[in-house]
Amino acid sequence: MKPAFDFRLFPRGLVLLLAWMVLAALPSRAAVSLSQQIDQPEANVGDEVTVTFTIQGVRTDMNFPDIQFPKVAGLQVLGTSQATNITIVNGSFTGSISESFHISASRPGNYVIPSFDISTPDGGVLHTQPINLHILDNSNAPPSAVPTQAPTPPPQVVTTPVLPNNNGPVVMPPNNGGVTPPANPNQGTSSISVPTEPGGRPARVFLAISPTTTDAYVGESIPVRIEFYIRYDSDAQQNSLPTIRGSDFLMNNLSVHPMEEDVLVMNEPYRRESWLTAISAPKGGDFPLQMDHDTYWSKPVQAPNNFPDPFVSMFLARPQLVHQNIVSNQAMIHVHELPQEGRPANFTGAIGHLLASGTAQPSSVTVGEPVTLHFTISGEGNFDYVRSPALTPDPNWKSYVPRAKMQYDDESHTQGTKIFDQEIIPQKNGTLPLPAANFSYFDPNTKQYVTQSVALPSITVTGSMPVATTETPAANDTTTATPFAPAAGIIPNRIELGSLSENLTPAYRQPWFWTVQGGLAALVVLGVVLAIIRARGKPNPDHAERALRERTLHQEEDAMSDAVRRNDSAAFFLAARHTIQLQLGARWRVKPEALTLTEIRQRDPELAETLTPLFAQADEVIYSGRASGEIDLAQWEQHVRRELLQAQPA
């Protein structure tokens, strides 16, 4: 949703001019009044409370008054901020300035901010009223929850469903860069508390994480939903994907394109980007899970407070692109070590709810021909640690390392099917049962290891094993014989050294490899650019010809006008005919001198008719040296100029 009018399009100078016009229209003796406000009269120790004093009816030349916040034992002023406002109601202007004090209490109790005076620059005095503040002791409260509910605004929840959480409420998000924490996080199991700004509005941007469980085992995949909320009036842009803080957890890769939705948060429109991923802990213990997200967003920035005129300073305020690391809420994850008791020998770290099955193809082979075992393990769990079912050692079969293929069914990569193909070669003939295959995993629900036997058929093996030819070891062989050494078929040593190189490091890792190629490429590009510039700078023969023709045309026109002034008929007609020839020559792209009346008649008979008197007069002048009869040269000049206009080249 975009605003109907973009104020950034308004020229800054015009804004300033309008501002001064508004200021000039303000009444010079407006009635000045004072109002005061506290954002939460009841808060916890350490919470930030904002007290705002607003002076209304200010004049154009009034600076910010010097407001001295009274000292109160136990209260500390964390900082101040100032703001200016102009309101136009029914055509009349009202100006106000306000100063906010951000305070915090160091101990619980009832505080009273006493009445004090504010001296305005025009000599007046304004009196404040006492302000009561009740501070609660939150030392026994959970670190992530606020035990009392602030009066305003009431706690709000996101109105769209989130990932169900079976392990209690989601802890509230942290204070994201100046916004106050949510008032009451305990809003049920399917809600996310919203951090708010000092004024009560929900934060411009915030990050919320929802793990499905807070109890897990080492290596177990925990699905986590990550949600990034951007208020519609904040032009936030992501700098990167959310990342886990610290090194207590490993996270699956996030999708570059998150799911985007429009949601309402505290009746404010937000854009929500969400990811579904999974985390796992490599070691046991209690670890806080928290994420952060690099973000750029537009933030209004006030002009310096000491600017001479607060109204001008208001207009100097401008939005600024701010880089901020948005931190999510925190969840404490209890990671348990896997029990040693009952751990199967073939356990590889798989945790979850998994089902193994297997087949073998083909059912009949010859000795030495491979049989492919096809194992499928499906369900929910940490598939990174799911390995192929272990085969019981069997001298009748020689097994090879299996190949794995993974198909995930969900975005968090915790559900899916892992497929293993393993070659196994019979060592003798007969009807051979395949080795027993067992798959073990840890079930976090029952807190027990589970071992599944994968049923495999027997294979009919025909033929016999070829006898390998072995080399006779030398008499002086001192090397211990090992079963590995490939006995048969090894191609013997080479007797030549071959091409030697000092190291195997590829050339592209050397700087010169890129420097030489890059330098030459740059030279080629430079040469092409220079050639283009040079080609564009060359004089164009067409342009030169046109310029010459136009210059000659102007000269002939001047000669024509001069002849009219001197009443020189001969000179006029010669110049007029040449002018017409030049114009028509350019139009038809022929030499002007070649254009006779006959030539013109062939190309444009109508034009030739109108030009006949002119050419006749010109011929007569050429052959007789003078024009016939009394001639009105001014009228002839107008006629020629009309013809020139008609004869203009396209």
Binding site: A474, P486, I490, N493, I495, S501, V524, V528
Partner: protein
């Protein structure tokens, strides 16, 4: 006859001079002969030691790595054998003898074969020097063509040829550049061979106290993806991955573990 005798004498003198000037040539052959003799005599450990010394002093070659792979295989060191066969294949990607012994050793070690496909052989067969020469040659030709076509003093026919060369070599150079970058991307993986006796332990995290996630057999070729102190995060061809101690693995390209992986 007299002429032939004179020529033979001249050749002998030249050969003697070459032996004086380049004694290392003679020594290299002698060392190789000694290593091969030890191999033939069944002293595989001795042969491997001599070949390793030869590589250290003279450098790598496909033949030396191949012979060293044979010696290590006979000596019962599948990891080192496969490492040297991989190095030999790296230097001579299309050599059928190297691939034969490599696959034989892999099979013997209980590993799947990993022969290169035709396009891998083709791309890997072109050395970086050739790529460099091709690109630099094309760029130089382009530069000459640009200068030649811009010179007013050059004959019109020469300028026309220069322009033709320019327009032919521009797409060719771009194509070669694209292929070169693709090959670099393909070869950018840092590979290593497991040399730990029997098998190496994979761990969840790069710490000795971390739980084991399984083992990876000796001789397996893996891709190194990350590094943390003395641990490397590796991924095997079968999809297994985890952290492994650096002492359990040797790089195919010596020194490549010192370079921080791109990801």
């Amino acid at each position: 006859m007299q002429f032939l005798i004179q020529r033979a004498g001249l050749l002998l003198r030249l050969f003697a001079l070459a032996l004086v000037l380049f004694p290392s040539l003679v020594r290299a052959d002698t060392d190789l002969d000694a290593a091969n003799h030890a191999y033939t005599a069944g002293s595989y450990e001795e042969s491997a030691k001599l070949l390793q010394q030869l590589i250290t002093s003279r450098g790598y070659s496909a033949s030396l790595c191949f012979n060293l792979g044979n010696a290590e295989a006979r000596a019962g060191h599948p990891g080192l054998a496969l490492l040297n066969y991989e190095r030999a294949r790296y230097l001579a990607p299309g050599d059928p003898d190297i691939d034969h012994n490599l696959q034989l050793a892999r099979k013997q070690a209980g590993l799947n074969t990993n022969s290169y496909r035709w396009w891998q052989i083709m791309l890997r067969s072109i050395s970086w020097t050739i790529w460099f020469g091709l690109i630099v040659g094309c760029l130089t030709l382009l530069l000459i063509a640009i200068i030649g076509s811009s010179l007013k003093s050059s004959p019109p026919a020469f300028r026309k040829i220069c322009k033709a060369v320019f327009f032919i070599f521009i797409p060719l150079t771009l194509l070669l550049g694209f292929v070169e970058l693709s090959v670099i991307g393909f070869n950018h993986r840092i590979e290593g061979v497991i040399v730990a006796p029997d098998k190496a332990t994979l761990r969840y995290s790069p710490f000795e106290s971390a739980d084991s996630t399984g083992t990876i057999p000796e001789g397996e070729l893996v891709t190194v993806e990350d590094r943390h102190n003395d641990y490397l995060r590796i991924e095997a061809r079968n999809g297994h991955y985890g952290w492994i101690q650096q002492k359990d693995i040797e790089p195919v390209v010596p020194g490549s573990f010192d370079i921080q992986p791109s990801n």
